[in-house]
Amino acid sequence: MQTKQSSVKVCEVTITDENEFIAFFDTNYNLFKDYLIVINGDMSEEIKEYMNTKGLSFLQNVTLPKGKSRKPIEQELENEKAKYLEAKKQFEDELSKLSTPKVVAPEPVEQRDLKVLDSLIRSGQELNIEGDLLLLNRVNSGAKIVIDGNLIITQIVDGAIRCNGNFMMLKASPKANIVFHNVEVDNSYLQNRLNRVELKNNEIVVTPVLKGTNWEV
């Protein structure tokens, strides 16, 4: 099937006096020659002949689709969009109910079981810490710290850190591999002597702490 769309100007007429009709179209021929003339009611053979000789296209007794103004159309589109969004949201809700059982997030604990360590964490060592940790020594390349509480390390980190606490405080550590709440932390954000790393609204926020402090001493 081939379709073609075009908009045409339409002139609707009801004939009461044939002569008047002919006279009208004679005088306004130039204006109406490209119009589609729609004649409501009866029309005589003379009128038909007149139209044909003039070359005017016409139709008889057609119900024309009523055009709508812009506003109602836009309104309709809006409604449809809202309906679609509603359906989508419902679908997603159902989907999430199916895939993940609802987990009640535990209340974030401010601080618990603080451990203080002053030993060097060497390559190949892995610390698994429940609670918080204050580490006063280096974490060497190839070492790993896994912790579910808060973490403060005052020396440089070359190894890996997996932290799920409320915050971390770390020295600028260009070689470290740091993952905080399953998100990798870009080392280039850790530029200061001590940086506080937190998770706020699912975004990792790094704030400098104590810019000029020298922890080497």
């Binding site: 390559s123 190949g124 280096r138 060497n140 390349s141």
Partner: protein, 270 residues
Amino acid sequence: MGSIIAVISGKGGVGKTTTTANVGLGIAINGKRCVVVDFDIGQRNLDMILGLENRVVFDIVQVMDGEASVKQALIKSKFNENLFFLAASQTKDKSVLDSQKIKTLVEDLKNEFDYVILDAPAGIESGYEHTIEFADSAIIVVNPEVSSIRDADRAIGILDSKSQKVKDGKEVVKYLIINRIDPKMVQSGEMLTSEDILDILSIPLIGKVPEDRGIIDASNQGKPIIMDKNSPAGQAYKRISIRICGEMVPMEDIESVQAGFIDKIKGIFK
């Protein structure tokens, strides 16, 4: 009662065997009775560096299995009468080592000598663990490059968790030797500096050895570089040996470039 020193590095090719030979000979030159033992079963090299490859009759595995006595297996060095050598087996592999047999052997050697130096194999497998098991102290040999440092770090970690002394609640004394330092590369920042390495490993430094082309020739000829009075590396090993014997020798600065005679003349015309 002597002391057992394990020479370890983690990574291969950094100079463990060369260090063992030279430090052993240096200690002997200092008048202490010393024995160097090759623990690299299956890949022995120390006999060649000491120039004793054609003198090996019995090896360490035969001694541990009771096929030969310690006295029969010990070979006296041709450079110093205080230095003895116990060869590794070239035909067996590391699986023949057994803690109890090693303990008996090293106890025997400890009674006989002032210093027992064990040349550990590269890596951190069973051969390495057996070497450090009964060590009183360890010499850690590193090169100024990151992979050597990381491997040494790992080796120290194992030393601190698996040696008998640590299990008894004591500490294994650790000495660091930074080997193959190229002063020019340190100056241009291509090599790690001693400070960086000490920061990372945090164990006391006992000496720095510069890169020396003479070492290859010395190894090929079976004459340890410490015998060469003009070699900077040999002199460095001499100082390290004296420090191990407990005397203080000032640390030499080998990292700054000393302008040679030709460089000075070039400098005039610049």
